[in-house]
């Protein structure tokens, strides 16, 4: 049951992100709910599954919207893996965990993105990116992560996830 539910949520999120969430832009910045989902899932499923979930979210992202295949998959996979590493070491009911992790992961995500985009030869204005995108996105994502994490943790504790088919 678990993989099916997770993949359904991931696909649904992808569709919502490209349609409904476009109306939730703040200062032209879109919340990265996919990243928050990957973090929340990774906290509960460990590094291996975290990396796997990250990979699939990213590759879907790339195929449906990306310019280059592999870029998002890479970033999401590494994020999922790194967050998953902390699986055993953190107290999962504390809401500070998703908040800080999301903030860190957003910075990490955008830094890798920046680096890869730079290496692929696109034009970048670093100052503008930080001022107009990164700060807003970090705050927005972190706050949203509280809500999403709350529901994900509820989901993982419910009996639905423990059932095997």
């Amino acid at each position: 049951m678990k993989p099916i539910i997770i993949s359904l949520i991931v696909i649904l999120n992808l569709i919502l992100q490209s349609t409904v969430f476009q109306w939730l832009k703040i200062y032209g910045v879109l919340p990265n709910t996919a990243l928050i989902l990957v973090i929340s899932f990774a906290i509960y499923s460990g590094k291996n599954k975290g990396a796997m979930i990250g990979f699939f979210v990213g590759i879907l992202h790339d195929i449906v919207f990306g310019r280059t295949i592999g870029l998002n998959a890479l970033v999401f996979m590494i994020t999922g893996y790194l967050v998953g590493l902390m699986d055993q070491k953190i107290f999962k009911d504390n809401l500070i965990i998703p908040f800080t992790l999301t903030a860190l992961a957003t910075v990490f995500y955008e830094t890798i993105n920046l680096l890869l985009i730079f290496l692929l030869g696109y034009r970048i204005e670093l100052f503008n990116v930080i001022k107009k995108m990164l700060i807003v996105e970090v705050i927005y994502n972190s706050i949203l992560s509280l809500i999403i994490y709350f529901y994900v943790s509820k989901l993982f504790k419910s009996s639905l996830m423990k059932k095997r088919y």
Binding site: S18, I78, K132
Partner: protein, 279 residues
């Protein structure tokens, strides 16, 4: 011991996959002729769902925002009336120069001047999804190969240039807008077609550009149109100059452009076939 090995093992797998992904993204970063079958199928599955959700949500959003704008309507109406007056005067002027133009065209025909024979069939499309990231400005539209869309088709809306088709699937296509980071369009000033330059988008969705001639006399408020160099045909409105700046070295005159298309509210677009020039 065994535990340690498995830990390293998963890290290895992640590292290997990461390297493969870097290679793949390096390969796919360039423009490709065709997309793979897998990509096509995933696109075909997801686009219809997006289409349904997006039409519902955007019509709802439009209604809500139009209610919110009711108060502004009165001032807007007055402004529009003034604009109509100004435009009527302009129409008079233009109809005079039109007859002149027709004369000149006849002359051109007589001189056997080579011209782009561009035939455009336009297809209306609606936008089904916008790129979820903040880096690129890409959106998907609900027409594709089956409707005859090709790569590098030109996308417009009623106000002006939107962008070009980047990838085509069966029933969907990805469009790169001119405010995207990696899009550049050559333009000319509407007032004087000899003043030309290039505008590019940026990550922060501002359109900036420069003029080839640093001494060109441009003013804020000048309208710019495509110049016909590159993949875009001549004469499509791009936008209006809102800021002129002379860069430090005094070699380039840089401009900031407000696109005439409102990219936040765009829902319907027109797609024209790619530019083909017969000689």
């Amino acid at each position: 011991m065994a535990k340690k090995r498995s830990k390293n093992g998963s890290a290895m797998i992640v590292a290997i996959v990461a390297i493969i992904l870097i290679i793949i993204s390096g390969i796919t970063a360039k423009q490709r002729e065709n997309i793979t079958v897998v990509e096509k199928w995933i696109g075909n599955l997801i686009t219809p769902v997006q289409s349904v959700i997006n039409t519902g949500v955007s019509s709802l959003g439009e209604n809500i925002s139009s209610i919110a704008r009711l108060t502004k309507l009165k001032t807007e109406n007055e402004e529009l009336k003034k604009e109509v007056e100004a435009l009527e005067k302009e129409v008079l002027n233009l109809s005079m120069s039109k007859s002149e133009l027709e004369e000149l065209k006849g002359l051109k025909y007589a001189l056997n001047y080579i011209e782009d024979t561009e035939k455009y069939d336009t297809i209306t499309a609606s936008i089904v999804g916008k790129s979820p990231g903040n880096w690129f400005n890409i959106f998907t539209i609900d027409v594709g190969e089956n409707q005859g869309i090709k790569k590098d088709s030109i996308v417009l809306d009623s106000n002006g240039l939107v962008g070009r088709v980047y990838e085509v699937g069966g029933t969907w296509a990805k469009v790169i807008s001119i405010i995207d980071n990696n899009s550049s369009v050559s333009f000319q000033i509407m007032r004087d077609s000899s003043l030309q330059g290039i505008v590019t988008g940026s990550i922060t969705n501002e359109v900036t550009g420069y003029l080839f001639d640093p001494l060109a006399d441009v003013i804020v408020g000048d309208k710019i149109v495509t110049s016909g160099l590159g993949i875009y045909p001549k004469g499509i409105t791009i936008g209006e100059i809102v800021e002129i700046d002379k860069s430090g070295d005094h070699l380039l005159k840089t401009i900031k452009v407000e696109p005439s298309v409102n990219f936040k509210r765009i829902t319907k677009v027109l797609v024209m076939g790619p530019r083909e020039i017969d000689y």
